[in-house]
């Protein structure tokens, strides 16, 4: 019989610094940096008047 107290899945996420590290690095790099970078790459140079 397993007497270990059951840990809520969300608590497991909270107790996993490595998962938080990966998500914490990935989300801003995708949403802010990569997306912004792509937008800049796609910007066409302005035509001279």
């Amino acid at each position: 019989m397993n007497n270990e107290p059951k840990i809520h899945p969300w608590q497991k996420v909270l107790d996993n610094p490595w998962l938080l590290l990966v998500l914490g690095v990935l989300i801003p790099i995708l949403s802010y940096t990569a997306w912004g970078w792509v937008e800049l790459l796609l910007t066409k140079p302005a035509l001279l008047p």
């Binding site: 809520h8 969300w10 989300i27 949403s31 802010y32 970078w37 937008e39 910007t43």
Partner: protein
């Protein structure tokens, strides 16, 4: 083992906490002297500095305050939180030396080259402005050194878990520091990506990076580093509210979830610096500065509720139950660690939070961008919030780590009030002058001949606030340095008590744990906060509508 707290202190960690904290305070003082001179120049009637020294010291102030003071003190906090609360040893002394050595060398290089007049580019160093290569190299060294310090933090957590130095979850203060460390990784990666090609360009080895790209990546460093501060500051709130009044988070899982929201979403907020940049589109701007970012704002509101609610609960359980706010009058307002925490929370939440969310709205940003309203906002977040919280922490950490009691304790009790009041005045002066269109980073506004007496009056308020805040900052530095040399030695006895509210007769700890109405005072404060938010938000949209009235 510390004779005062009974906590075990790793001696290596203790050394690096000392070194980093002392360096941080020295840079704070240097940046503070520059701050006074800047404030006395922006006070147009005084207009102290000549033009070249204004921009030189503006660069010096930004770098010393925002980067050096904060990063050194944060490394001290990370070193403390991954060892003492976990009963763990620092992972590696050599890595800690490497980190500290790189940071200090980089810091001295940057400060030297700025004062030598070779880097009048302000802390943002936007291309095509170009500084001496040592400026960029110095910043790279500081960033990489900090990253190495953060690595030591993670390695210490790993070893502590592996060796079962602690059981169960991380303590909340270490969890907050973990969130700060994760954000620091993203921040410092951006720092490396933007500074290395700029350095090679300054050396003449590569072509100039694109200025729009530079701004995008630089703000991944410049703003995200502020989110490291926010996390570290909130962790300090939890720690100090516990030490000074015995508060506990009212719900651990909710508080931790709020930290996770920071980790996942707060970094997107950097986009608000590019709200008037043409290169990035509206969808990118709106997604990053509102929808996603509001999840991080929610986190701040959670902390802004749970910290005072924890304090209220602790006070009521100690027997201070009179009315809605009876517990507030019994709080230890003369304890500088408590008053610093409370002021930091109010200044950050009421002034910093409300102005930040409003200014981060794309439409409103258009009328505020590059005006003095922006420094008005961040002096109540990173100064009135973070800096004041870190100062408050020093009132316990210095006796703990250096084993000396503070000198001039009466002065110490006044210091957070003076600094907090000065900063609020400074920020009001900046914000109202900015509302009248006064630009930031401008040596002289009279040349335009468009600013009337009201703008000049607010610039005077800025100047007076600056003098008061500088006096508060100077007192803090003198108290800390004086304590290191002349503070009475503790040696085994308990540190002198700053004052904590005693439990009244008949009170019972934990008695209100299940009472959902026990935090009524905090609920009233929260409603007041929301009302202030609504009024400020409305006033800004009204101001925006006045820019192009439709009749």
């Amino acid at each position: 083992m510390c004779g005062t707290t009974g906590l075990s202190v790793c001696l290596d960690a203790q050394r690096f906490i000392k070194l980093n904290a002392v360096c941080g305070i020295v840079f704070l003082l240097l940046g503070g002297v520059a701050a006074l001179l800047l404030a006395l120049t922006r006070w147009q009637t005084v207009h102290l500095l000549p033009v070249d020294w204004f921009y030189r010291l503006l660069t010096f102030h930004g770098i010393n305050m925002l980067i050096l003071w904060i990063l050194f003190f944060e490394v001290a906090i990370l070193t403390f939180t991954c060892t003492t609360p976990l009963n763990a040893r620092l992972f590696s002394r050599k890595i800690a030396w490497a980190s500290f050595g790189m940071m200090l060398t980089g810091a001295v290089m940057v400060d030297y080259i700025i004062l030598a007049g070779q880097a009048d580019v302000m802390m943002t160093s936007y291309l095509p402005l170009l500084a001496h290569p040592l400026f960029y190299l110095g910043i790279i060294l500081v960033a990489v050194g900090t990253l190495i310090g953060v690595f030591n933090f993670f390695a210490t957590l790993y070893v502590a878990k592996r060796d079962r130095a602690y059981e169960g979850s991380l303590p909340i203060v270490t969890f907050g520091a973990l969130a700060a460390a994760i954000i620091a990784v993203v921040t410092l990666l951006h720092g490396a990506v933007v500074m290395i090609p700029t350095f090679t360009y300054a050396m003449g080895w590569t072509a100039q990076p694109d200025p729009a790209w530079y701004r995008l990546i630089w703000w991944g460093l410049g703003h995200q580093s502020q989110q490291v501060n926010v996390c570290a500051m909130v962790a300090v709130w939890y720690l100090l509210s516990h030490i000074t009044v015995g508060a506990r988070p009212i719900n651990e899982a909710v508080c931790r979830t709020a930290f996770v929201l920071y980790v996942l979403f707060i970094n997107l907020a950097s986009a608000h610096h590019l709200l008037v940049d043409p290169g990035v589109g509206a969808a990118w701007k709106i997604w990053n500065t509102s929808y996603a970012m509001y999840l991080a704002v929610l986190a701040s509101m959670v902390h802004g509720f749970t910290v005072p609610a924890g304090v209220e609960l602790a006070m009521r359980e100690k027997g201070y139950t009179r009315g809605i706010f009876g517990w507030v009058t019994a709080l230890p307002w003369k304890n500088p660690a408590f008053s610093g925490t409370a002021l930091s929370l109010v200044i950050f939440g009421f002034l910093g939070g409300i102005t930040g969310v409003t200014l981060g709205t794309q439409q409103i940003n258009i009328i505020a961008h590059n005006t003095l309203r922006i420094p008005g906002h961040f002096h109540v977040t990173v100064v009135g919030g973070t800096t004041l919280a870190f100062m408050a922490l020093a009132y316990y950490v210095i006796p703990l780590i250096f084993q000396r009691d503070f000198i001039c304790r009466g002065v110490a009790r006044v210091q957070p009030w003076l600094f907090g009041f000065g900063i609020v005045l400074l920020a009001f002066g900046m914000s109202f002058a900015g509302t009248m269109g006064v630009p930031r980073r401008s040596w002289d506004i009279d040349a335009q001949g468009v600013y009337g007496p009201a703008a000049h009056l607010w610039l005077g308020v800025l100047g007076i606030g600056g003098i008061l805040a500088f006096t508060g900052l100077l007192l803090f530095a003198l108290l800390c340095v004086g304590t290191l040399f002349f503070g009475p030695k503790i040696e085994g006895r308990a540190m002198a008590d700053w004052g904590t509210p005693p439990a009244l007769a008949g009170s019972q700890p934990g008695s209100l744990a299940n009472d959902h109405y026990a935090t009524k005072g905090t609920i009233v404060l929260t409603l007041t906060f929301l009302a202030c938010f609504a009024v400020y938000y409305f006033a800004n949209w009204k101001a925006l509508a006045d820019v192009w009235p439709v009749r």
